[in-house]
């Protein structure tokens, strides 16, 4: 489906003379020069074509690549017969020219033309535990070649997938540098997680490791969407599989590429805040409706001074810098690759800095029948910033709400920053610059990922492979807090903390694979096993207080030390699996595939430990049928039908099937003070109930797909329909509070296989590729995925809806219940703002009449200036039953569009992506449009109700900050979350060969020089009133029950980048 840019340097094959010294010594004097040129069908020269030469008699071999003029050159080849030249380049069919004999000391010239490959049908695609040719694939999958132009400016691997594959939504967590992104494939089908399974170079990994990779190290990403292909991964594949192939070394001399880019990120939108006079007016209004008076200060002019716009005080232009270097090469026996990447990024809100260093080393050895490989990836990240509740950057809602008349600094306040208090300022919002400057937090983390494999060709077609990978990670967290007094005169002490954590686990897999063709029959089989080791994880955090002064800012000088956290346990569940797959193809036309996996996981009780996950798929390449030969409209056609079952065990590793003691978390925090000295005495109890009957949840998916190609295969179209039904979903069922087995403020829960959910959808992708004339190539991709999510049941037990998403300490805003999408918003529907008492009296009279109760009121507590909610049931009164499902944060469709254009030496790439048919919850409205506590707001609040008779859009100022009245959950909080975003726009220029040659001055120094400029998020089309419609989840929430809630997360920035790529 995806069209590969053949001239991209990263795809270039570079082959070189293999240092077989005895051979070269013998033939030193008599050599033949071979030159040639490689062109495409249109006669345009093709750069970076790999040219291999091999002498079948002497086993001599050598390799090179074409330069930007399509010219290749072997200066010294030993003379003799039996030479074969092989030309290969991505996107073209490999061409072999055999039977050449080279004369001594003679020049020899070759001209050849490469044909565009048949829509890469022969491309080898990585599937579960093996590879397959694209034409033999029976499942629904997308391959995203990473090095499509423009991808180089992505700083995070997940970004590479945005807008590239139908039915795959990539939600960036937020705009914090280094934040990860969530890949959601075909909707939400589980209550415990939406993470797909990540496979890196054939070995199970996780989201953390995926995001640990540098984008520069990735060759391509394959997404397995349908269950006939994912079932071989059984457990953990319920949300699809993302397979990452990293860049490998290629034969040839050391090849060095350097990419360096610099840029600046900035928020693309700001809100309009009230000035000081408007703010004071708002507070006066608020005080009047709250039956109180403003503090004395408000009768002086000092409060009318516009000292600061706090929003612009905290937002900033944030520089970003990224450098990558890759060195690779090798012989046909040993290949190596080594890369280092460094990125430094600041947040667009003060004052966080993120640094990341990636290195990756890979070795690959071929010893006849044995093939070995080793790789080691290391990531180190360092984040410097405040560690507050909102994040490591200044709190955005404080930036909206802090009093505009306040200066930044106030030397009379401990710590030096100005503060407000309820007593003096009628507000207790924190100075947004205070904590960010007075708390210094450094988080350093590392991950090491070693992978090794060994593969043996046992007999013809039969291979055995054993592979091992480990993940070793950890971190260190240091914090220093200057002593200060926060708003409302709260004392924050001088303190320092130091914490360490580490974890490690390994994965071991072995399998046999067999592939043989007998005439028209092709059989391939795989059988193997896998073991996921639970590993270990541990952490400890120490807090130091009683630090005498600020001259030394670490824990070592603290006079009191206390362990504030400690943990020890498993890094994950252990899983033992056995799997097998059989594929049979007849005449390349009928392809049948079946797989079965048995998984056993430590999460479950003895009786339910094992689960069985089958998958079957069938593909019919009808294009090869006789009747299709008579038409010329369709150039390629394949029908795919598949079904499979996958599973999920995403629940705590221990403590689900049996009851464990609880002594506080961290352990030891459960105390009561006894004795005349009120000494803390430790307590131990239990805080949960067990469910010994818990078992695997299962997801059954049916997929029907059609692959078509038209117009000489320039246009390709893929259609897929799927029905994904998940049953026995693992879910924490809330139990009545009277059970008592919980912690304070919580509700007792029991994990059960309770719920059923369904995702049905339709996906369409189309690709178009065309070469116009010699100098212009164009490729366009578009995709769209429709998905309908629905909870089918919450189980046979008491099926109380799951309520979640408490915002601003108000009520829950989301509900998950049968018949509706997971995590739907729930509440009242606002009709309008009550104009005056007469209007309310009329409603009350109506209520009295309809209910027959003379004292009935339409809506309890309704005052002029309040929202009148809709009486959905028409009984004349508003009660809880008038709450209804108001929408949901799951897009009805997700779409993407990308285009690549090359013209002579210029290249242009753009990626659009968008979502539509969803609602998001703007909880920042609590600050921007509501005055229930003293704080500044946006100019939108000027549209509030002020006096009887006002027909206002927004409610009056002043009301209890509780989930009642105007702050009840309602559709007023919701907005459309639809947007279309120009993710990436890159324009590049590659120096032409002539210029390159003159720079090189006859030496082979540079093979490539490219400049580019790029813009990320240049354009966003949205109607959303907040900072950014791309909202992942509530802060600290989940993609399942609290998705799409904007609490004032850092928006995605607009970034401009300039970059330079050098190839040596």
């Amino acid at each position: 489906m995806k069209i590969k840019r053949f001239h991209s340097k990263h795809f270039a094959l570079m082959l070189f003379l293999i240092p077989v010294f005895c051979l070269s010594l013998k033939a030193q004097d008599k050599r033949t020069q071979v030159t040639g040129i490689v062109k495409n069908e249109n006669g345009t020269a093709i750069a970076n074509v790999s040219v291999m030469v091999k002498n079948t008699k002497t086993n001599f071999s050598a390799g090179t690549t074409t330069d930007s003029s399509g010219v290749f050159n072997f200066s010294k080849l030993p003379p003799g017969g039996g030479y074969t030249f092989t030309f290969s380049s991505v996107g073209f069919e490999t061409q072999k020219l055999s039977g050449y004999t080279l004369q001594p000391d003679a020049a020899f010239t070759l001209v050849t033309r490469l044909r565009l490959s048949e829509r890469a049908l022969e491309d080898v695609i990585v599937i579960g535990y093996g590879t397959a040719k694209r034409k033999d694939v029976v499942g629904s999958l997308d391959v995203v070649p990473v090095k499509e132009a423009g991808a180089t400016s992505s700083t995070n691997p997940s970004e590479l997938l945005i807008g590239k594959a139908a039915g795959v939504q990539v939600v960036q967590a937020n705009g914090v540098p280094g934040a990860d992104a969530q890949i959601i494939i075909r909707g939400t089908g589980s209550f415990t997680g939406v993470d797909p399974l990540y496979i890196i170079d054939g070995i199970q990994a996780d989201k953390n490791l995926f995001n640990a990779l540098s984008t520069q190290d990735i060759e391509n990403i394959t997404i397995l969407k349908d269950a006939s292909s994912t079932a071989i991964y059984g457990s953990a594949a319920a949300n699809g599989v993302v397979i990452i192939s990293t860049r490998k070394g290629r034969p040839g001399p050391p090849r060095i590429s350097i990419t360096s880019q610099w840029g600046e990120a900035k928020a693309w939108k700001q809100l309009h805040l009230l000035d000081a006079a408007q703010y004071v007016d708002l507070l006066q209004d608020f005080a009047a409706t709250s039956n109180t008076t403003l503090p004395a200060k408000f009768s002086t002019p000092s409060v009318l001074v516009d000292s600061n716009n706090w929003q612009s005080r905290i937002f900033r232009q944030a520089p970003v810098l990224e450098n990558d270097i890759n060195i690779s090469g090798g012989s046909d026996k040993v290949l190596y690759t080594f890369s280092v990447g460094y990125i430094k990024q600041e947040s667009i809100v003060q004052a966080m800095t993120f640094k990341r260093l990636n290195t990756r080393m890979g070795l690959d050895e071929n010893l006849g029948r044995i093939h070995l490989g080793q790789s080691l990836a290391i990531r180190y990240t360092n984040t410097v910033g405040q560690n507050g509740s909102g994040g490591p950057y200044a709190n955005i809602t404080d930036g909206i709400g802090y009093a505009p008349y306040k200066p930044v600094y106030d030397p009379s306040v401990l710590g030096g920053y100005s503060i407000v208090s309820n007593i003096a300022d009628f507000s207790n919002v924190n100075n947004p610059l205070q904590a960010v400057n007075l708390i210094h937090n450094v988080q350093a983390e590392f991950v090491v990922l070693p992978q090794i494999f060994g593969e043996v060709n046992i007999i013809n077609g039969l291979k055995f492979r054993t592979q091992f990978s480990a993940e070793i990670g950890g971190g260190k967290n240091t914090l220093y807090q200057f002593p200060y007094t926060a708003s409302n005169n709260l004392g924050e002490p001088r303190e320092s903390s130091l914490g360490y954590n580490d974890y490690s686990f390994y994965t071991l897999e072995n399998y046999f694979s067999y592939n043989r063709t007998f005439g028209k029959h092709n059989i391939s089989a795989t059988v193997g096993n896998s073991y996921l080791d639970p590993g270990k994880s541990s952490s400890v955090t120490d807090l130091g207080t009683g630090i005498p002064n600020d001259n030394i800012q670490n824990i070592s000088v603290a006079q009191t030390l206390a362990v504030t956290g400690a943990s020890y346990g498993y890094a994950r569940a252990s899983v033992i699996s056995y799997f097998g797959r059989l594929m049979y193809a007849y005449d390349n036309k009928y392809i049948l595939s079946g797989s079965l996996r048995e998984d056993g996981a430590s999460n479950f009780g003895t009786n339910n430990q094992f689960g069985y996950f089958p998958g079957v798929g069938f593909a019919w390449r009808f294009i090869d049928e006789g009747f299709m030969k008579r038409q010329s409209f369709i150039d390629d056609g394949k029908l795919r039908i598949g079904w499979g079952r996958t599973g999920n065990n995403n629940i705590p590793t221990t403590g689900v099937t049996s009851v464990l003691t609880f002594s506080g978390n961290p352990n030891g925090n459960l105390v009561y003070s006894l004795g005349s000295n009120k000494t803390f005495v430790p307590g131990t109890t239990i805080a949960s109930l067990a469910n010994p009957n818990i078992k695997w949840e299962t997801t059954d998916q049916t997929d029907i797909g059609l692959d078509l190609a038209f117009f000489n295969k320039q246009l390709t179209v893929t259609l897929d329909w799927y029905d994904r039904k998940s049953s026995g979903l693992l879910v924490s069922i809330p139990l009545p509070a009277s059970v008592g087995a919980d912690l304070t403020g919580a509700q007792p829960v029991e994990i059960e296989n309770a719920a059923d959910a369904e995702n049905k959808g339709f996906e369409l992708s189309a690709g178009y590729r065309y070469n116009i004339g010699r100098d212009l190539t164009l490729n366009i991709n578009a995709n769209i995925g429709f998905n309908k999510n629905r909870v089918l049941s919450l189980g046979s037990q008491f099926a109380a809806p799951i309520q979640a998403g408490v915002v601003q300490n108000l009520s829950t805003f989301t509900i998950t219940k049968a018949g509706y999408p997971i995590g739907s918003y729930y509440g009242y529907k606002v009709d309008h703002v009550a104009k005056d008492q007469a209007e309310i009296n009329a409603l009350n009279a109506q209520a009295a009449q309809k209910t027959g109760n003379p004292n009935a009121v339409y809506q309890a507590g309704l005052l002029p200036g309040d929202f009148i909610y809709k009486d959905i049931r028409g009984i004349g009164q508003i009660t809880d039953s008038d709450e209804t499902v108001l929408g949901n944060p799951i897009p009805k469709f997700v779409y993407g569009f990308s285009a690549g254009l090359t013209f002579k030496n210029f290249d242009l790439n753009m990626v659009f992506s968008g979502v539509a048919g969803l609602k998001i919850l703007n909880s920042v409205k609590f600050f921007t449009l509501i005055e229930a506590t003293g704080h500044n707001a946006t100019t939108g609040i000027l549209n509030r109700w002020r006096q009887p008779g006002d027909v206002a859009a927004e409610p009056r100022a002043g009301q209890d900050a509780t989930a009642s009245g105007n702050l009840a959950a309602s559709d007023w909080w919701l907005e459309s979350g639809a947007y279309l975003r120009l993710r990436n726009l890159t324009v590049g220029y590659t120096l032409p060969t002539k210029v390159l040659n003159s720079i090189n001055g006859g030496e082979h120094v540079f093979t490539r020089i490219r400049f580019y400029i790029a813009a990320q998020n240049l354009l966003t089309l949205t109607g959303y009133s907040g900072y950014d419609p791309e909202i992942s989840t509530q802060m600290g929430g989940s993609y399942i029950f609290t998705r799409g809630i904007d609490d004032g997360q850092l928006p995605q920035p607009r970034t401009f980048l300039a970059g330079l790529q050098l190839g040596f």
Partner: protein
């Protein structure tokens, strides 16, 4: 060795060895113990008992919400504009079944019951043979019975019919327990306390101060009888506390009952132990906001001083009606306006109001005048009880170590007086008890109780209001006296700032069954979405 064999097996994918498979898939927790094996010694069972006490500090209870709920509902406290969140719904009775603090209270009371049932379940499973162990577990069981009876006492008064869970197995076998009639809950409390009393010590060693004593259980049993209107039984129980072996007496200084050193007084019968917050390295100052036992660290402070304190968060005023109550005709002549001296200990205000007018008496900077704002339309009276502004001008965070008074001897004396009066005795016995309480505070004694049961009750009711103002008893008293609707609506309607509302409806005589119960328990029958 076994591990190595397992790895070999995995490498070779030989004939599946199920035994090996099982061992790799059998993970035992490395961070917590098994319920079935841990509680088999006195120490562990003591820890389980402590965990039951610690619920007293959970949300809805005594580290924060309990006093807000009952002071606001009892019209003793009134919100300021600083008050945020769901608490604000309590003052004007605008809450429904989703009211957070009422839900928290329900949840915490049942958590206390659950933890008590855990102790009893584990003691039954252990059956120790050593006499010391036997004595220990007897005491532990008696202590947790007191705590679960305290929980049920609250539940039955506030909600009436409610799930009655008396054993751990009950919730293991059925997560959805139906409501039992209030009468059977009252009966359970009576019998459970009766079985606990003999096994509780009269007093503890200094190290165990704060645990439930025999006196505490007797006081709770007396209170149970009183609330059930079993006056004679109540009188019997309360009388026990005035006799040996008990040595209860009124603390000489009324003020000291609400100061940071308010424990170890002969007046204490049962207190919630609040340890002053000292350091972030031990506990979090804000632990009461849900960090109990988790992110709050080791902390048992109360945030009442901070929340009620006029120079700190100042979330509530004392109501004008509560202030007015301290002004009544002098008991000496029944005519002369009199200001009860307890006003000074209860609130800050003007000299005329009787409240304290200065604070920071013991600060190094010297005393400061209370900044009474005469133009405040709400009446600017602030709480002094449970504050320690005599020591510091402001607190800088919640850190109060003032113990919560659950039952104190003055309360018992007044309840004893009431049990006499309710039996028709308005004579010297109740008079003596009431005057005993008044005398300690320096209030003029009554010469008689007016001669009738009604007048005696009126005096007693006022006395309870004044003596126990801000101690979360008035709401319970008004409900049990059947006066709640009438009195609260009268007070709300005249209270400045409340817009003349009369919000107390008949349904308010009981709390709504909270959503966290009714929405998740199909067997919990709730009428009209309320109770």
């Amino acid at each position: 060795m076994k591990k190595i064999i397992c790895y070999l097996f995995l490498l070779c994918i030989a004939i599946p060895s199920w035994n090996c498979k099982k061992s790799l898939l059998n993970l035992t927790s490395q961070s917590a113990y098994s319920y079935s094996t841990y509680f088999n010694n006195s120490n562990a069972l003591n820890q389980a008992t402590i965990a039951t006490y610690s619920v007293l500090l959970h949300q809805g209870l005594w580290s924060r919400e309990y006093y807000f709920i009952f002071d606001l509902l009892g019209m003793e406290a009134k919100k300021t504009t600083n008050m945020q969140g769901d608490l604000a719904q309590l003052g004007n009775y605008s809450f429904g079944s989703n009211q957070t603090e009422i839900g928290d209270l329900w949840g915490s009371l049942y958590r206390m019951i659950f933890r008590a049932n855990v102790v009893i379940d584990r003691v039954n499973a252990w059956n120790p043979t050593d006499p010391t162990d036997q004595a220990n577990v007897k005491q532990y069981v008696a202590e947790v019975k007191f705590l679960r009876d305290y929980a049920y006492f609250n539940i039955v008064n506030l909600w009436g019919n409610a799930p009655l869970i008396t054993a751990y197995d009950s919730v293991v076998n059925n997560n959805y327990i139906p409501r039992s009639p209030a009468a059977s809950i009252w009966a359970f409390i009576e019998s459970d306390l009766a079985s606990a009393i003999p096994n509780l010590p009269v007093a503890y060693d200094a190290a165990d101060l704060g645990r439930a004593t025999q006196g505490a259980a007797i006081a709770l049993l007396g209170k149970t009888y009183l609330y059930e209107k079993k006056w004679a039984n109540a009188q019997t129980e309360f009388t026990l506390l005035t006799q040996a072996p008990f040595t209860y007496a009124l603390s000489p200084v009324y003020d000291s009952l609400f100061s940071p050193t308010n424990q170890n007084s002969p007046e204490d019968i049962f207190q919630v132990m609040n340890e002053a917050w000292t350091s972030w390295s031990i506990g979090n100052q804000y632990s009461m906001f849900g960090g109990q036992e988790t992110w709050g660290g080791m902390a048992s402070q109360s945030d009442r001083a901070q929340e009620y304190g006029f120079n700190d968060w100042w979330n509530v005023y004392i109501t004008a009606s509560a202030v007015d109550a301290f002004h009544y005709p002098s008991p000496a002549d029944g005519v002369t306006p009199y200001v009860d001296p307890r006003a000074y200990s209860t609130f800050y205000g003007t000299k005329a109001s009787g409240g304290d007018t200065v604070y920071c008496e013991q600060c190094t900077t010297g005393k400061i005048s209370y900044p009474f704002n005469a133009s405040d339309p709400q009446g600017d009276y602030s709480w002094r009880k449970y504050e320690y502004y005599n020591l510091v001008p402001s607190y800088g965070g919640p850190q109060s170590g003032i113990n919560g008074q659950v039952i104190r001897y003055a309360d018992v004396l007044l309840m004893l007086a009431e049990s006499y009066i309710q039996q028709g005795n308005a004579g010297s016995q109740p008079l003596g008890l009431i005057n005993q309480v008044r005398a300690r505070a320096g209030a003029i004694p009554y010469s008689n109780l007016g001669g009738s049961q009604t007048s005696a009750m009126n005096i007693l009711m006022l006395e309870r209001q004044l003596e126990l103002c801000g101690e979360q008893t008035r709401y319970f008293d008004l409900i049990r006296w059947g006066l709640a609707q009438q009195v609260i609506n009268a007070e709300e309607s005249t209270e400045p700032g409340l817009n003349g509302i009369q919000p107390f409806q008949t349904k308010n005589l009981l709390f709504p069954i909270p959503d966290i119960e009714k929405d998740y328990n199909p067997n919990c029958v709730v009428n009209n979405g309320w109770n």
